[in-house]
Amino acid sequence: MTSTTATAPTLEVRALSKRYGARAAVDALSFSCSPGTVTGFLGPNGAGKSTTLRILTGLAEADEGMALIGGRRYRALEHPARTVGVMLDARALHGGRTGIETLRLTARTLGMPRDRAEEVLETVGLEQAATKRVGGYSYGMRQRLGIGVALMGDPSVLVLDEPANGLDPEGIRWMRRLLRSFADAGGIVLLSSHQLREVEATVDRLVVISEGRLVREGPLEELTAVTGTRVAALDQAALRRALDAHGIAFELRAGGELAVSLAPEDMGRLALREQLVLTSLGAGAGTGLEEVFFALTGHEEPSADEPAPAL
């Protein structure tokens, strides 16, 4: 297992921008991650998550702004792979090597002892597949090996793109425990994921982006807390104006409803005072990450017969 200490450097993205032609993939994005936290990095497809992670890890260059780890760019770190463990795409692992060869080569590249490869192989639970070629691995096994490669240098920061993809339920539990213990040991974990329920069960902070911009950043509990009341009015524009005028926070929810940070009775009084005809009014249920996600990114929630969200 990793021996991460409490001295992990801070991960910081400052006013990062990246354009591809006329399209802004990342637009003045800023956020930070502190030691001891698992941060979920969420956004719809094309929101700029992968571009941000690639800039953070030196695989792409920013047009403006910077992504820093311990105050330095990835490429400027003295031993980058021993400071930051990265797994962006498990398909990038060479299919012509065996699992143990892959880890031994990584150990040699990073200047780690040879037996570290066996140690990591055990950590990621691939002992039985050690001598099997990676080309013959399932996607979940590749993910495990990719995480193993990321852990090889005993880093204090982990950056993972879709780490739960392809993992079976046991594998997801394993990963959750691994990331939790990594953070509890003082490390930083930044992970993007399609699987919101897994994110909800793993992370303690969220960074939500949409169209390259930061939408919300904060502790998971804060973002998914009971948000008061769900309300809709005959004249939605007037309802919004009234809420704005009273400085009451609200968020758009699926079906045109607003989630308002007021108790239902207070919302009713406000509607009476503003002479608004309400078409629905009710206490907000405990908001799940999925609802928060759709509300924050402005994307419609898929109907029940649609496939699971790919975010």
Partner: protein, 244 residues
């Protein structure tokens, strides 16, 4: 720079093991063909080292581009460059390291080929024929090696520039073939202008002139156009190309 890592990364893949095995078998087979059969084909029943090496150079003109392009550009094609650059983010150092690894493989291959050529020439000449001519080693070390060196340098430049195994191989093998054919056509048509244009990109001709000590400023032109320019453009592309 870690050429040892790049060599190992190349050698421990199954594809490279297969390619190297086939390459060595081809070199050994052509060495046997050149050295052992030669006495039966030449009037004085001798075996000449330079002729044997010339026969070996036929597969080498395919093997050298294959190995060189694979080492320099293979990781771009299979996507594993992402892992390499995450672990070694100094891109110029990785490129230089891969070029050194390719050079080491080329030198080793050339040395093995010369050794096999000498052995089969000796066996063919002394044990089967009327004698072995090993004194032509000078021709092997100048003319023949210059030719193979040009092949290596051009392949290296194509691997660096195109950063794709398939495109690199097509260019490294196809362009010299096209230039050679065009050169023959220019001679057949007797067009001096066409011959001059082709000579400006005839790296093999320039390397032979260089090896024979006959090279002038004009012979540097193919080196600039086919090696230095693509290598410089490839280096620039290597430094800035985005991954993923």
């Amino acid at each position: 720079m870690r050429p040892d890592i790049d060599l190992r990364a190349f050698l421990d893949t199954r594809g490279a093991k297969i390619l190297l095995t086939l390459s060595l078998l081809a070199v050994a087979g052509f060495a046997a063909l050149g050295g052992l059969i030669q006495p039966a084909l030449v009037p004085d029943r001798t075996a000449d080292l330079e002729m044997t090496f010339f026969v070996i150079s036929l597969p080498l003109t395919l093997i050298i581009p294959a190995l060189t392009v694979w080492i320099t550009a293979g990781e771009w094609s299979d996507g594993s460059i992402q892992i390499t650059l995450l672990q070694r983010p100094g891109r110029l150092a990785v490129l230089t390291s891969k070029a050194i690894a390719a050079l080491v493989v080329f030198v080793a291959l050339a040395a093995v080929s010369i050794g096999l050529a000498a052995a089969s020439t000796w066996i063919g000449g002394e044990l089967i024929g009327e004698g072995a001519v090993l004194s032509s080693i000078e021709g092997v070390l100048t003319t023949q090696l210059a030719n193979l060196g040009a092949t290596f340098l051009f392949s290296l430049a194509m691997g660096m520039l195109l950063q794709s195994t398939v495109l690199g191989l097509v260019a490294a093998i196809g362009i010299p073939f096209v230039i050679g054919t065009a050169s023959n056509l220019a001679m057949a048509f007797g067009s001096q202008t066409l011959a001059d244009v082709i000579a400006a990109v005839d790296l093999t001709g320039a390397s032979l002139a260089l090896a024979n000590g006959e090279a002038g400023a004009f012979e540097l032109l193919p080196m600039v156009l086919l090696v230095l320019l693509p290598a410089a453009l490839g280096t620039q592309r290597w430094r800035h190309r985005e991954i993923g």
